[in-house]
Symmetry: C2
Subunit: 201 residues, 2 copies
DNA sequence: GCACTTGTTGTACGAGTGTCCAACAAGCAA
DNA sequence: TTGCTTGTTGGACACTCGTACAACAAGTGC
């Protein structure tokens, strides 16, 4: 029958930025579902509803795609924390508490994000460009925390160490929370972090 | 002499335990050198000077081998910390400090170990047996810390949270130290952890 | 000497990998 | 319309992957 020859439009052109974005989001979903080992060019292409060749057209390789996905997810985390800070009002201490609480709440603390982090970490030691990206994003995270500590009245000389400590504490709690959710609760993690900050201020 | 017919002994039988051990150590070396992505059955077999088929004879698959390697490396870390505790003498506070200092010193804090940890973490979410192994080893680490805190006179009701906090802090500092060694030094990490413990006691 | 068990080898297999590329589809310029 | 650029396809390529397995080597018991 000569009807409906093109039932499925096999070809749909998209805005380059939109396509990049959809590939990145597909990568995040595949990482969350399959883990780092099951994340291949083909799996990502299927997830994005696109042919495998297109991945190579937008990204130099799978490593670059993972790095872009990490940057994107880190941006989402950053915005989620900004939103929490916005809701917390103007009191500096309340803002700091909101920062901590948001870190242990969805969408920041979720086992699905963990796979993206792990896939990215596994590239840091072998690829210097990715190591640089990590350094920058870590520095940005710490700088924001230092600013919040300054608003709380902490003297400038102490801020650096305090920010390193709090970042490490949050990261460690976050990691353990994702890896073995039974060991302690998000509520407990928040309480631990807040009392550590009390001690530092 | 009868002409050295067998210049290279292609076949050497080893004690089962010794062979297991040599495969595990080869895996640790490959993980350190190539990262998780480059760690295959063949690469491990070459590193151990053994045919690829032998890996399957001792381990059910590469995941089991990675899990065994993690357990082995964790054992080394544990012994390194025990040795540090032994050198610290009997003063409870000095022992706690030794615990912290050893955590940021070779062989515990080394970028080479990181790859083993990451490879293991990447299996936690998809394999329940490995999740259980992680839970057990995390619980053991924390239990030891709780005992040290008890020796320092901390009341039993506070030990659990304090141990969670210190473990997370050490893990977070350790991770960042391995990922971006430029951000802060091992000495600084030790100082941060020790003053956090001061605050808790 | 012989059978028997078992560590060990090397290879073959099918599935999956990343990368490459000729062909095609769509929009834009002239 | 005609040509040109470019997003997109789908498959071919040359791998590498984990696993399975027949064959072999070294002990062990008899």
């Amino acid at each position: 029958m000569a009807a409906q020859v093109t039932a499925t439009p096999a070809f749909t052109r998209a805005e380059p930025d939109a396509r990049r974005h959809s590939l990145i989001e597909a990568t995040a979903r595949v990482l969350a579902r399959e883990g780092a080992a099951g994340t291949s060019v083909r799996a990502i292409a299927v997830e994005a509803g696109v042919s495998p060749g297109l991945v190579g057209h937008y990204f130099s390789g799978i490593d670059a795609l993972v790095a872009a996905t990490y940057a994107h997810v880190e941006g989402q985390v950053s915005r989620a924390i900004d939103a929490a800070l916005g809701e917390a009002g103007n009191d500096p201490r309340a803002r700091l508490n909101a920062f901590v609480t948001a870190s242990f709440r969805a969408p920041v603390a979720s086992g699905e994000l963990l796979a993206t982090w792990i896939a990215f970490w596994s590239l840091v030691r072998s690829r210097s460009d990715i190591a640089r990206q990590h350094d920058e994003q870590y520095a940005a995270f710490r700088a924001r925390l230092e600013a919040l500590l300054g608003d709380c009245g902490m003297e400038a000389v102490h801020r650096r160490r305090a920010a390193i400590a709090i970042t490490a504490l949050i990261d460690g709690l976050w990691l353990e929370l994702c890896l073995s959710p039974e060991a302690f609760s998000a509520k407990e993690a928040g309480a631990i972090a807040r009392s550590a900050i009390d001690a530092l201020l």
